[in-house]
């Protein structure tokens, strides 16, 4: 029963990881940027949550509704101010700029909020759960996180497939110069894609900041988890990312069940095993261009 419980908790955790990974995947998909600042940006969202909920006393859900658009705006500005410039330099510039941003932002958060661990308060919802059997409880908050993770993945996928802007994003990903001949400013598309990615990062940051005690450098782990979910699932496939997140989550909870200090290690080893034996991931995109 303990094992079954570990697996169930792992699946729920996987929804959170998929939520973390959606933005990383989207930015890579649209502009081939691997945003190394992804994790610390989630921490920025989490600290905003701390400010709004813990310090200003706003209700959790209201804070969520405020943090998400703030993060979207941050993404839009970052893209215009930093990443678009870096992309026009080409080569290693986007990666190096993203890395620099990650370091700078981590240190800034450290300056502002110190290295003491924090957590966003959510009150009773954080601890209440449904009892499934004698030993298995499903927490409302992890369940909600999982549902939001799945909805975000599905929503982004539908947006990319159906919405005119989503279509423009895919076209821009294929050929950023040629979309200009269709009257589409590829840089604006990039900025909107990053805004959307950061909106999901805002959600992810609120959820992870509520679930976990975090410090600024926790963003490193967030980036790694998101990355592992993306690679396990297969590049370019959002549903794959969900599967990847779930596999990572289960590996970690089962690892912790074996020995509390094994959780991260087992998760990483499962990732490396997939990299070794199935480098294209589990659900790679059917068509690669």
């Amino acid at each position: 029963m303990q094992w079954l419980n570990a697996i169930i908790q792992g699946i729920l955790l996987g929804g959170l990881y998929a939520l973390l990974a959606a933005g990383l995947s989207l930015m890579f998909g649209v502009m081939r940027i691997v945003n190394l600042a992804h994790g610390v940006l989630a921490m920025l969202a989490a600290y905003l949550g701390v400010v709004f909920v813990n310090n200003l006393g706003l209700p959790w859900f209201l804070a969520l509704v405020i943090v998400v658009p703030i993060m979207a705006a941050v993404g839009y500005v970052l893209q215009w101010g930093l990443f678009n410039r870096a992309i026009s330099k080409g080569g290693l510039a986007p990666l190096l700029v993203a890395f620099g941003l990650a370091v700078v932002l981590t240190q800034l958060l450290q300056q502002i909020f110190s290295a003491d661990s924090r957590s966003i308060q959510i009150g009773a919802l954080g601890t209440s759960s449904i009892q499934v059997s004698d030993t298995i409880y499903i927490g409302w908050f992890p369940l909600m996180t999982f549902v939001v993770g799945v909805l975000v993945i599905a929503g982004v996928q539908v947006f990319l497939n159906r919405a005119p802007l989503g279509r423009a994003m895919r076209a821009t990903s294929d050929d950023p110069e040629t979309v200009n001949l269709m009257g589409i400013n590829n840089r604006q598309v990039y900025a909107l894609a990053t805004a959307l990615a950061m909106a999901t990062v805002g959600l992810a940051g609120m959820f992870i900041g509520t679930k976990t005690q975090f410090i600024p450098t926790y963003g490193d782990l967030v980036l790694i988890f998101a990355f592992e979910a993306v690679i396990i699932g297969g590049l370019g496939s959002l549903w794959g990312t969900l599967v990847g997140g779930i596999i990572l989550g289960v590996a970690q909870t089962v690892g912790s069940q074996i020995n509390p200090s094994y959780g991260l290690l087992v998760g990483n080893l499962v990732f490396l095993a997939i990299l070794a034996f199935r480098p294209q991931g589990l659900l790679p995109k059917a068509v690669t261009t």
Partner: protein, 232 residues
Amino acid sequence: MSLLEVNGLDVHYGDFQAIYGLDLRVDEGETLAVIGANGAGKSTLLKTIAGLMRPTAGDILYEGASLTPVPSYQRVPKGISLTPEGRKIFRSLTVEENLKVGAHIKRPGPWNLQSVYEAFPLVADRRDRLGVNLSGGEQQAAAIGRALMSNPRLLLLDEVSLGLAPVVVEQIYDAIPTITGNGTTVLVVEQDVNQALKVADRVQCLLEGRTVLEGPPSSLTRDEIAAAYFGI
């Protein structure tokens, strides 16, 4: 006033100059063919008109106003549309999605999915196929269709016939009267001189970035054209 007027245009790739003080004009409703051998600067000219390249000197007037400060994506709402060399179909999008991207700015006019499919049966048959899986001719037809979806006033076509079977070229050129009939002015770049002479009201021949011959097809002899084309 001409629809398009190019005055003293210089264009460079880094240190290399591809176009030297070029003058060109296209009147509303006429079809101009720009011909020339490989490397004459034809594609460079079209890319500069569409705004993908910046001239280093000279100016381009469209509807009487300078295009110099206008970025490429803002030239499309003004009615300039380019079918680029190499077609540049979006590979991971279906044909229909490619067309819809062409209509992204929603410029009003006669062209829509329906009318493009009618003009290009080749495209209609392949509407659900991914761009990456199209043949060269299908790509070319889809690329023209995609350009038409923005309902251009001035359509720039680059090397429609490149690498295509004569039958397919024929089919595609058959659509040009429909296009001009719908009120679109066409500037076509061709290496295939015979095709160019057939559709064009006027021909302009480039050699190494300069105009060497210009006039209506009827006023030009084959020898004149050949001499200009090859620079002999």
